[in-house]
């Protein structure tokens, strides 16, 4: 703004864009646009063959660029203060890109995605398109746009860029949710629900942003923080604005009382998309939450902390208790994701001095990696257990899976134990790191609630394990589809990550420590 005013009238100075520092994001968005062009010009039978390598290579390339940036040691604010390039954002970008890569490996448009999204479910048109063998290969560019949005959302250094990131991430996801091949009505319902509630939360976010701008005169996170000290007399704008921003962000992480969309959407969406949302979106949203609450509203922590306490307690308890009553595996995992968001929030609350913030941030980052891998792995297993009518979602169908397919059931049991936080799995150290940070940050009562809800959560994880191994299989039980190499690879990678992070977490802890060391740039 000041540069604008200082320039002589009649000329508009060009903004400086640090292209090298934004390269990972640019690569993903560029690949997404190329993907759209492929949709437009490539012959139908070639599209899939082009999309898969294009998507995977661009994600791998973006990951490599992120590593280069991290090694390079660049830490500043790029693109005129719109995007932060710092330790936490690079770590989160790396995590999102790896998890997205793994989730995209699960994509299989003939198995999971609808043949023609525009056809009415159950119509002759749908039958025709099925016979014709049509596929919606648009899922690949859409996913890339969503992933690019996640990158921007988690690294945005001003609220406007954050909102753009939020929308670029969310809009493709709304569409992708409605593209399930089986049980299409459920899928479309999920998409509509997600869209409506998501639109509301975006509106909350936007309105909150406007009020904060009214308070601080800027949307830049660091300037908002500065204004907290100097501006006075406009506190109403600040409090209402912060609350509305909080609603928008807490919706995205699925914190109670804004968690209602999660089970419906996770259940209805095609499972690879669920995996992408449960891992990538959650990581990105936590990046944004940390940035808004620690950077922009960092000096307001005395005011938002009590509210966050309430939200965290409610989230943990609601997630853990409602999960018990679920009979669908994807809904159960959705509620478990809500409970995990609550555990992560205990880390968000554990602020204090710089050393304390570093510890809490490092714990959250480690948790996000650990949880992300495990959850992608769990959803990958869900895609493999299939009935005649698609995935076997109902828990009763999973009875005796351990007898039919001991290896797959064993791996799934392992993921569930990791969710429960049993030692020697990644979940234990994740939970440990976050809870230890919260205890040293003075949030011991919150940790006690966390501990109790982990015990409740352990109950339904263990129940599924018992169901798989100690119940008799139904005679017409689901089959295990091991035809997809990609899915098998995802399960293997996720299981390996869960073991390694559980037994030898030191390298990743070091990385998280290093990323958290400089905290956020301002």
């Amino acid at each position: 703004m000041s540069t604008l005013l200082a320039a002589p009238p009649g000329t508009i100075p060009a903004p400086t864009i640090e292209y090298t520092q934004l390269a990972p994001m640019m690569l993903v968005f560029g690949a997404a646009i190329v993907g759209v062009l492929v949709e437009a010009f490539a012959p139908r039978h070639l599209r899939s063959a082009v999309h898969v390598p294009l998507t995977l290579l661009s994600l791998a390339g973006a990951f490599a660029l992120t590593i280069l940036l991290a090694v390079d040691g660049t830490r500043n604010v790029a693109a005129m203060g719109a995007v932060a390039v710092d330790g936490p954002s690079l770590f989160i970008h790396g995590t999102i890109l790896v998890l997205a890569f793994v989730s995209v490996l699960l994509f299989n448009e003939r198995l999971q995605f609808v043949s023609q999204a525009a056809s009415v479910p159950g119509s002759t048109e749908e039958e025709d398109s099925l016979e014709e063998g049509a596929v919606q290969t648009e899922v690949y560019p859409l996913a890339l746009f969503a992933i690019g949005g996640m990158l921007l959302f988690s690294a945005a250094n001003d609220l406007l860029a954050m909102f753009v990131g939020l929308e670029v991430m969310s809009l493709p996801l709304y569409l992708l949710c409605g593209l399930a091949r089986r049980r299409r009505l459920l899928s479309q319902e999920a998409a509509v629900k997600y869209f409506l509630l998501g639109a509301f939360s975006s509106a909350f976010f936007l309105y909150g942003m406007a009020l904060i701008y009214g308070f601080a005169g800027s949307v830049d996170l660091a300037k908002i923080n500065d204004a907290l000290g100097s501006a006075s007399g406009r506190d109403t704008l600040l409090y209402v604005g912060a609350a509305l921003l909080g609603v928008g962000l807490l919706f995205k992480i699925g914190a109670a009382p804004f968690q209602a969309w999660k089970p419906d959407v996770y259940q209805g969406a095609p499972t690879p998309i669920t995996a992408l949302m449960a891992s990538g979106t959650l990581v990105a949203a936590f990046g944004a939450v940390l940035r808004v609450f620690w950077v922009a509203l960092g000096n307001l922590d005395w005011d938002w902390r009590p509210v966050m306490w309430g939200v965290a307690i409610l989230t943990m308890v609601v997630g853990a208790i409602l999960a018990i009553t679920q009979t669908d595996i994807k809904r159960m995992l959705a509620y478990s994701s809500i409970a995990h968001a609550g555990f992560l929030l205990t880390g968000v609350i554990a602020t204090g001095g710089p050393a304390q913030n570093e510890e809490a941030l490092s714990g959250i980052l480690f948790y996000l990696v650990a949880y992300g891998f495990t959850t992608v792995g769990a959803f990958a297993v869900v895609t493999m257990v299939r009935d005649a009518g698609g995935e076997a979602g109902h828990l009763s169908r999973w009875a005796g899976l351990g007898k039919r397919s001991p290896l797959l059931a064993g791996v799934f049991a392992f993921f569930l134990l990791a969710f429960a936080g049993i030692p020697l799995t990644s979940g234990f150290f994740g939970k440990y790191a976050v809870f230890a940070a919260a205890v040293s940050g003075g949030a011991t009562p919150l940790v006690i609630v966390g501990v109790v809800s982990s015990a409740i959560a352990a109950f339904f994880y263990v129940r599924v394990i018992v169901l798989m191994f100690f119940s008799d299989p139904a005679p017409d039980g689901p089959t295990v589809d091991v035809s997809s190499m990609g899915t098998a690879a995802v399960v293997a990678v996720a299981a390996a990550a869960t073991v390694v992070l559980g037994v030898l977490p030191q390298p990743v802890l070091d990385l998280a420590d290093a990323a958290a060391h400089s905290l956020f740039v301002r």
Binding site: P406, F428, Q506
Partner: protein
Amino acid sequence: MLSVAIFLPLAAACVLAALPRLGASAARAVWILVSAAVLGLAAAMWAGYPGGVAYEQRLRWIPSLGAGYHVGVDGMSLPLVALTALLFLVCAVYTGRDTPRMPAYAAFFLFLEAVSLGLFAALDLLLFFVFFDLSIVGMYFVIVGWGHGDRARSALRFFLYTFLGSLALLLGFIGLFLGGGTFDLVELAARPPFRAEPGIAGLVLLAVGIGFAVKTPVVPVHTWLPPAHTDAPAAGSAILAGILLKMGAYGLARVALPVLPGAWQRHAWVVIAIGVVSVVYGAFVALAQRDLKRLIAYTSVNHMGYIVLALGAAGLAAGDERARDLAVTGAVTQMVSHGLVTGALFLLAGVVWDRAHDYDLTRLGGLAGPAPVLTALTAVAAFASLGLPGLSGFIAEFQIFAGVIGTGIPGAAVAGAIAVAGVLVTAALFLRVLQRAFLGGPGELTARFTDVRPRELLAVAPLLALSLAVGIAPRPLLDLVEPAAAAVVTLVSR
């Protein structure tokens, strides 16, 4: 050598888990061989034990969390390591080839063996916690998979109760870490955290205490124990009572006393009260049981109460130091003795279930006729459990009473006197069992009984023989335990 003993069963468990199609005989052979090898290692360690903390091994694991792989044994843990090795071998011998899903069963027991050995050897709190938690998971699957009756429900109650306890324990360990800056038990004991903040030390002790109290268990957090024991398979019950319960009492002696000495001293009377209540309540509730296994389970509450009482008395800094040494020695001896005797009792109860498929004492009777050897074994085990001189229970309980009363503090003397009354009730209830089930006229289920099979005899006899050996010549054991107990008393008296 110690690490080999820990990881050998773990490796064997992985191999068995990877080979679910293995025949039952082969799986059982692997199980017995590996357990025997571990027992051999434990015996070698005992024979070559030089005193102090021996066979120590320290590796970097997670330096940024201040946690390392640090194991070692001293006079307190070595008897328990040996007991673990013996009891698991005995369970392997006891288990028949007809057990369903034998490879998985053996794998779970080997896994539990590794975890138990690791726990008793751990000198790092995080490592300790890892093994503590894994023991819960392993035992849960043993009960769910191979138990009887309402096993899913019992196992779940066991899991939730002890898992919640373990999370409280984790909370306490996090507190210790924040206070001491490390998870290393040796360093923590050398520089106890929270010396200047009694309030925080009390809260940390509460968290740690809840964790161990659930596992021990003491009244009022014992309610998971009877159903878990009743519905577990015989070998599972033997391990649960013989080894897993020790983890709680051992944890108190290993972690709470040396690391939080001030808090332990201040709250010693609470611990003593809990111990006495457990002793009396456990004994009386056991007296009222009709179910043989529930009865034995409640005697466990009673027996573990003596240990808690002794450890509480160790915290009475004003008391006579030699008497407190004696009490802690008695507590460790009681852990070993209870492991041997209750392990044997549960295996014998397993024989009863195998024949009658019922534990109801009122439907049994006159078993001495068809099963004289079973009767003799049960009689010896019962007498050992009620503390008859000449058997291990007497040595342990005598030391505890002498130590507690010998502290010279009136309150402790009263507590000791009340606890002695517990022995009387235990004696009554075991005599009642012998009279009801084994002597007297035949009951409705007596016709189904045959005498013990060779493998059952082979499993139970060594336990009772050792109990007898400890009862007659306790010196080898006490020579090992006494220095370690004195060290703990010195640490807690700071």
